[in-house]
């Protein structure tokens, strides 16, 4: 079956299931790392499994692309019928994705790889989400100021696209999601200065230290932007012990409880959230439908948009209630959130 091009192979698989549907297929949901964001998605995926009767496993590679590749290969070896994956590095993972697509149904979620043979993509555009956060920054600093950006790792697709979105929005530049700027040098355009972008490799002590050190280095710091879920949480910790709560604004991503609490008490300007629960739920739902012989479940455009939302004091309560409801589906809801995604 190696000779068949992956795109065609996917079509064959879909056609095959249309003729001989499979009930209770084994399906897998593969993330791009370990994070609470993904735990929410896991809830969604598992709930979809319960609702649709599919056997669902969720895998979180802890060690980057090589690990993600290994897990997908092992899943194929194990005989799963479909995989929903968040590719860590879509541009360069095509081959791996196509190799997997040659053996099992494949959709992408959270990050897309349009050039691959994947059947569909469920998610949003991180660049646009970044621009939404950029708007929050401008609202926080209407008269301009210094902004520092913090993130776990910069080379991840979602990380650098978010960062660029934030910067382009702050500087009022036209949309160009291929632009990448040097993270080492501060940039000043108009009344805004974006300082160095610091990474922490998911080490929380480092993440907090980064914020503290930027506060030391830049006494006029006006706003910090945390691109991964734990970044705003640790920024709050640093601001608290530095006595700068409220004086330095915080803009974040994702729905860590501390971030939401911060929005409520005014220490956080706002956060841009995705809908991981539905990434999980809809991915599994779609794969299961295809296995059951219903190819119509696949979107014609190949893209299901689950847009990002800005959470501010205005809608924080409604958002949190909705989140609780989703998580209550199974197991215990839990504390602090973060996203390595």
């Amino acid at each position: 079956n190696n000779a068949v091009p992956p795109k065609q192979r996917q079509a064959e698989l879909v056609l095959g299931y249309t003729k001989n549907p499979i009930v209770k297929p084994k399906l897998a949901f593969v993330t791009n790392g370990v994070a609470d964001f993904w735990v929410i998605a896991q809830r969604g995926a598992e709930q979809a499994g319960v609702d649709s009767g599919a056997i669902v496993t969720v895998h979180m590679p802890a060690e980057g692309i090589a690990d993600q590749k290994r897990i997908m290969e092992d899943l194929v070896a194990q005989g799963v019928k479909g995989i929903a994956v968040s590719p860590i590095d879509p541009a360069n993972e095509l081959e791996i994705l196509d190799q997997i697509a040659g053996r099992t149904l494949l959709i992408t979620q959270d990050s897309d790889a349009p050039a691959s043979a994947r059947l569909a993509y469920i998610g949003l555009d991180n660049y646009d989400a970044g621009r939404m956060a950029g708007k929050l920054v401008k609202e926080a600093l209407p008269s301009g100021g210094e902004i520092a950006i913090f993130v776990g790792r910069l080379e991840q697709d979602n990380a650098f696209r978010r960062r660029q979105g934030v910067m382009d929005e702050i500087f009022d530049r036209a949309r160009d999601d291929t632009r990448i700027e040097n993270p080492n040098t501060p940039i000043t355009i108009g009344k805004y200065t974006v300082l160095k972008t610091l990474t922490d490799q998911f080490d929380r002590t480092k993440a907090k230290a980064n914020v503290e050190d930027m506060m030391s280095a830049n006494p006029n710091l006006g706003c910090v932007v945390g691109l991964f879920a734990y970044n705003p949480v640790l920024a709050l910790e640093a601001l608290k012990s530095g006595g700068k709560i409220g004086k330095i604004k915080v803009v974040g991503f994702d729905e860590a409880p501390e971030t939401l609490a911060g929005i409520r008490d005014g220490s956080v300007q706002g956060t841009v959230v995705q809908d991981p629960y539905n990434y999980g739920y809809r991915s599994i739902q779609m794969l299961n439908a295809v296995c059951l012989g219903k190819p119509d479940a696949l979107p014609k455009s190949g893209f299901i948009d689950i847009p990002a939302v800005t959470v501010t004091p205005a809608n924080v309560d409604a958002f949190e209630a909705d989140l609780k409801k989703k998580l209550a589906g199974n197991a215990s809801g839990n504390s602090a959130g973060d996203t390595a995604k």
């Binding site: 790392g33 370990v34 994070a35 609470d36 993904w38 735990v39 979180m60 802890a62 910069l154 993270p183 080492n184 501060p186 160095k196 972008t197 610091l198 990474t199 490799q201 998911f202 080490d203 929380r204 002590t205 480092k206 993440a207 907090k208 230290a209 980064n210 503290e212 050190d213 930027m214 506060m215 030391s216 280095a217 006494p219 734990y230 949480v233 640790l234 910790e237 012990s241 530095g242 860590a256 409880p257 501390e258 609490a261 197991a331 215990s332 839990n334 504390s335 602090a336 959130g337 973060d338 390595a340």
Partner: protein
């Protein structure tokens, strides 16, 4: 004393260079931060120092930090335990871990590297398994307990500056360790075990017991360190909390004069070693023209240059000493 001269020199050089390059380096706020971080990492390094002294190694530190860091908020918030109960259980568990690992090294005769590497994997695995990969945090509560990690002690008469609470822990631990190592028979014997296990055996020294003690102390301090770390940052993610901390801890110890072949090292040196690493990381953010993405390269280079300089000075001094003998004799 002579052995920590080199590292002290490196430390002073970095401090002086950074304070010239950045006006914000010697501010009260920054110094407080540096003291806190140095204390946190210093405690781990003092711990691993005991193991290194016996010519062993402990790679499980990161795993123990993770487990303690995860379990502290987990027991408090999910299980509803009280703070004293939680702390007691965390510390007991840590000692038990060290006891077990030490036992496997001393009686099982398995290479320390292997035992503690398995430990690293197992403890992080347990942390991930227990929490199902979910971040554990204090949810804004338990401020009194968290004081030990992120609190500050105001000094009477000083306005700006207050002492970070972990410094207190560090000082107590350092003093106790120094007393143990320099003034007690067991401390002396622990060094002997590292120098020559067989000479120790022939001297009637309880080698196995001392090895187990060393691993127990190390794990205890790792667990306590994990507790302080999570109290400082407020939450912990099982898959990456404490990652690489064993390397940082061992590196600080080795920088501070410990030899991995055993039997040599000083507590003060270790603390300075830990401080060097923290100041370097701080400097890379504060000195704006240093490229942040090359952070690691800068740290690695500075340490290497420092160590090389130290070695050359030492040889130079040895040569001089020889010539002086010549002169007088």
């Amino acid at each position: 004393m002579k052995k920590i001269l080199g590292i002290t020199g490196i430390f002073l050089a970095i401090v002086i260079a950074t304070s010239i390059l950045s006006p914000n380096f010697l501010t009260a706020y920054n110094i407080e931060n540096l003291l806190r971080r140095t204390s946190l990492f210093g405690i781990l390094s003092i711990g691993v120092g005991f193991v290194i002294l016996t010519a062993g190694i402990d790679l499980s530190i990161g795993g123990v930090v993770c487990l303690a860091g995860i379990l502290t908020p987990y027991l408090l918030t999910q299980m509803g335990w009280s703070a004293p109960e939680t702390v007691a259980v965390i510390l007991l568990m840590s000692v038990a871990i060290g006891f077990l690992q030490g036992g496997l090294v001393a009686f099982g005769r398995i290479q320390p590297f292997l035992v503690t590497l398995c430990g690293l994997l197992i403890f992080r695995g347990i942390a991930r398994g227990v929490t199902m990969d979910q971040t554990q945090g204090f949810q804004g509560k338990f401020a009194e307990l968290r004081w030990i990690g992120n609190g500050r002690i105001s000094i009477p008469g000083v306005e700006e500056f207050s002492l970070p609470a972990p410094v207190l822990s560090l000082i107590i631990i350092a003093i106790l360790s120094m007393i143990f190592l320099n003034c007690t028979v067991w401390g002396r014997w622990m060094k002997a075990v590292g120098r020559s296990p067989s000479a120790a055996r022939y001297s009637g020294i309880p080698v196995a017991r001392l090895q187990i003690l060393a691993y127990s102390i190390c794990s205890l301090l790792s667990g306590f360190g994990g507790l302080l770390f999570v109290c400082d940052v407020g939450s912990a993610q099982p898959s990456d909390f404490g990652n690489f901390y064993e390397l940082y801890a061992i590196a600080a110890a080795v920088l501070g004069g410990y030899r991995l072949s055993g039997g040599e090292g000083s507590v003060v040196g270790v603390i300075i070693g830990a401080a060097v690493m923290q100041v370097l990381r701080n400097a890379i953010v504060l000195v704006s023209w240093l490229p942040y993405t090359a952070e690691f390269a800068v740290i690695g280079l500075v340490i290497l240059i420092g160590v090389l300089a130290d070695e050359f000075l030492r040889r130079y001094a040895a040569n001089r000493a020889r010539t002086q003998v010549k002169g007088t004799s």
